[in-house]
């Protein structure tokens, strides 16, 4: 097992690596007639340079809301009610629209969820690529085409796509166009919202590889949202697990998979089907609470197997249990620490 430990050391970028994106106490709520839904509650994490952070959790847990909040694109009736989002040290929450536009795409770009509908059907691909460039740079007309064709080349698209309309492309090609579009201005951070979820597995693999290649070449940092744990395991450096609008655990991907700390993370990992052994799907009793009505204490208390009285009274904070590894569970943190004292995670 010591081999894995050394792997961890390689995967763990040093903690003093530059943090390109810091999210601090982010709170997003959707105002509904029957009370405010807290879709992201006190979410804090950071993204290091050249790192891919996976953001996982069940549907409705606030993954996409968090991502959209980072992009400052939360749709009404949702709004950011608190917290800071810093890109390269500068806060972008609450700055005016005209200021914000300077950050968009140059610092923060998006590979959208539904590639099928993410391109305007009545405008040619070249125009949609070009208007991102023109919005931020004064570019000469003759420089435009070579630049776009080079991007196509980077993501493995044929040159003829330049003059085509979105409906003339396959799903995989559309997603590559979206990838090419996301890197057109060399952003610091790319947010990929389930970039492969609408594709079949073969194309998924190819697209995932394209994303990784691009990321390696540009040295860009990424946040990858998804619920395909298998895909996440192969692609990301660290995983952040969300539950009911809160971050419950964040840490290096290998550690999280080998030795999940938070009870909810444990559940997610156990739910990954294995081809080696046949095991019953583990389902917990209890439902997620109504997000309008957050309980006192731990957010996971209704579904947790190890729930104790203290869990229901006082909410846990984020406890550090390793390098770049935090968990939002008092007991899990204690367990992890005692295990470490006893000789490492894999004892």
């Amino acid at each position: 097992m010591s081999t894995i430990n050394t792997e961890n050391l390689i995967l763990d970028a040093p903690t003093d690596a530059k943090k390109v994106l810091e999210v601090e106490n982010l709170r997003v709520q959707y105002d509904t007639p029957r009370g405010a839904v807290r879709a992201a509650d006190d979410v804090s994490f950071y993204l290091k340079e050249k790192e891919i952070l996976g953001l996982v959790g069940e549907s409705g847990c606030g993954k996409t809301t968090t991502a959209m909040a980072i992009l400052q694109m939360v749709q009404s009736p949702g709004r950011i009610v608190g917290g800071q989002i810093r890109i390269n040290g500068r806060n972008i929450v609450g700055i005016p629209e005209s200021e914000l536009r300077k950050y968009r795409w140059t610092e923060l770009s998006l590979i959208p969820q539904g590639a099928m509908n993410s391109l305007n059907p009545v405008i040619k691909i070249k125009e949609q690529m070009a208007d991102a460039i023109r919005a931020h740079e004064n570019i000469k007309k003759k420089d435009l085409k070579p630049r776009i064709l080079k991007l196509f080349n980077d993501v493995g698209l044929p040159e003829r796509v330049y003059n085509m309309y979105p409906h003339e492309l396959s799903g995989g090609m559309k997603q590559r166009v979206c990838i090419a579009m996301s890197i057109v201005l060399n952003p610091s951070v790319i947010i990929a919202d389930e970039p492969t979820s609408a594709l079949d597995v073969v194309v998924q693999r190819v697209v995932a590889q394209t994303i990784l290649e691009v990321k390696e070449r540009l040295g860009v940092s990424m946040i990858m949202i998804g619920h395909d744990m298998g895909l996440q395991a192969q692609m990301v450096d660290r995983v952040a697990v969300m539950y009911a609008g809160r971050l419950v655990e964040i840490g290096p991907v290998m550690k999280m998979f080998k030795n999940p700390t938070h009870p909810y993370t444990q559940l997610l990992i156990e739910a990954i089907p294995s081809i080696k052994e046949k095991k019953p799907l583990k389902v917990t009793e209890g439902l997620t609470h109504d997000l309008r009505n957050t309980p006192e204490g731990c957010i996971y208390q209704f579904r947790c197997e190890h729930v104790e009285d203290s869990c229901c009274n006082e909410p846990p904070r984020m406890y550090q249990v390793g390098i770049d590894h935090f968990v939002s569970c008092r007991h899990a943190a204690e367990r992890a620490r005692s295990m470490e004292l006893l000789g490492g995670y894999h004892g």
């Binding site: 694109m73 749709q75 509908n117 059907p121 009545v122 309309y165």
Partner: protein, 337 residues
């Protein structure tokens, strides 16, 4: 630009022919379903006016013979189709020696002039209002004012026309109340005549624009709200494009398509005129002509106006079909290069 192929044009053209044929056939059938016939109706009218008519029955018979109304339906229909193809409907029945076209054609420029200006302006105003109402970045003050502009939609345009006549013509004497141009003005390319046309056209124009732009606005608002939540619209925002560009190229550009089709369909109405508005303002257009023809049961004039309307409607649909692939590239696919 998109793909216009011969195959596509041919398909649309045969649709155009089919529509035209069906419409013309209906115009043939419907008047003949009504009891009586135009000749008896005319004679009855003369008898009622003059009090007496000699040999009425014989006259009816001989005229029926002359107009071919005694022929079997099938023969009449073929003759009628022949007329339609040549676009010649013969004499006006109410004003007998005059050709039907000589009554309809002079009225045509008035209706087309009035209604094309009115529809283009109300299309632009209505869709602009609607698009702004449906856009989430519209300034709040503007968004709260805009709905008031739609209040007039609830008022029928002929009522609104009467209101305008009352205020602007009778009370304030700013504009003339009726007619196409002033008495004593010499028709022709002179400034006096053009000025007179504009002055006379203003009130009918206003009543149509103010009451009909609301319809466009409501439709556009709905389409724009849908377009606003499209993924590509959100992506365009994330790209940091200027709000104006997002609004025009990713919002309006996509939302306008159905409105454009509706607009083309409405073009047929240009020819038939707006009967009620033209009636109220005694405007010398085809709508007024049609109204008079129906009153006098002048079937050939009705046929002429209706066939013209069908031709223009199906013709403009054909035209917009050809235009559509240029605007929305998904309609046709280019044949393999």
């Amino acid at each position: 630009m998109g793909g216009l192929t011969w195959n596509y044009i041919l398909k649309r053209f045969s649709m155009f022919l089919l529509t035209f044929w069906l419409g013309s056939s209906l115009i043939f059938i419907i008047p003949r379903l009504a009891p009586g016939d135009p000749v008896s109706a005319m004679v009855v009218r003369i008898v009622m006016r003059e009090g007496y008519m000699e040999n009425a029955q014989e006259i009816i018979e001989s005229w029926k013979e002359r107009f071919g109304l005694n022929d079997p339906m099938a023969v009449q229909y073929v003759k009628y189709l022949g007329n339609v193809v040549q676009f010649d409907f013969g004499f006006s029945l109410a004003r007998f020696p005059t050709d039907a076209w000589d009554i309809v054609l002079p009225a045509l420029p008035w209706s087309i002039g009035l209604l094309s200006v009115a529809s283009v302006i109300s299309f632009i105003i209505g869709n602009t209002i609607g698009a702004l109402m449906g856009w989430d970045k519209t300034p709040r003050w503007l968004k709260s004012i805009l709905p008031f502009s739609l209040t007039f939609t609830a008022i029928p345009y002929f009522m609104f026309g009467l209101l305008l006549i009352f205020i602007l013509a009778f009370k304030l004497h700013w504009l003339p109340a009726s007619g196409g141009y002033g008495r004593g003005v010499d028709p022709g390319w002179n400034w006096e005549f053009i000025k007179s046309i504009i002055r006379h056209g203003t009130l009918p124009l206003l009543s149509i624009i103010i009451t009909s732009s609301g319809g466009w606005a409501l439709g556009m608002r709905g389409l724009m709200i849908t377009a606003n939540s499209e993924d590509h619209f959100l992506l365009a925002q994330a790209k940091g494009l200027s709000p104006r560009r997002v609004f025009l190229r990713y919002g309006v550009r996509n939302a306008i398509m159905p409105s454009l089709t509706a607009f083309a369909l409405g073009l047929g109405g240009l020819v038939s005129g707006s009967t009620l508005v033209e009636f109220i303002f005694a405007y010398p257009g085809t709508g007024y002509t049609l109204f008079q023809a129906i009153q006098t049961q002048d079937y050939t004039v009705i046929e002429a106006v209706c066939n013209l309307m069908i031709l223009i409607t199906s013709g403009s649909v054909f035209f917009i079909d050809l235009l559509y692939p240029l605007l929305d590239p998904r309609i046709t696919f280019k044949s393999n290069k």
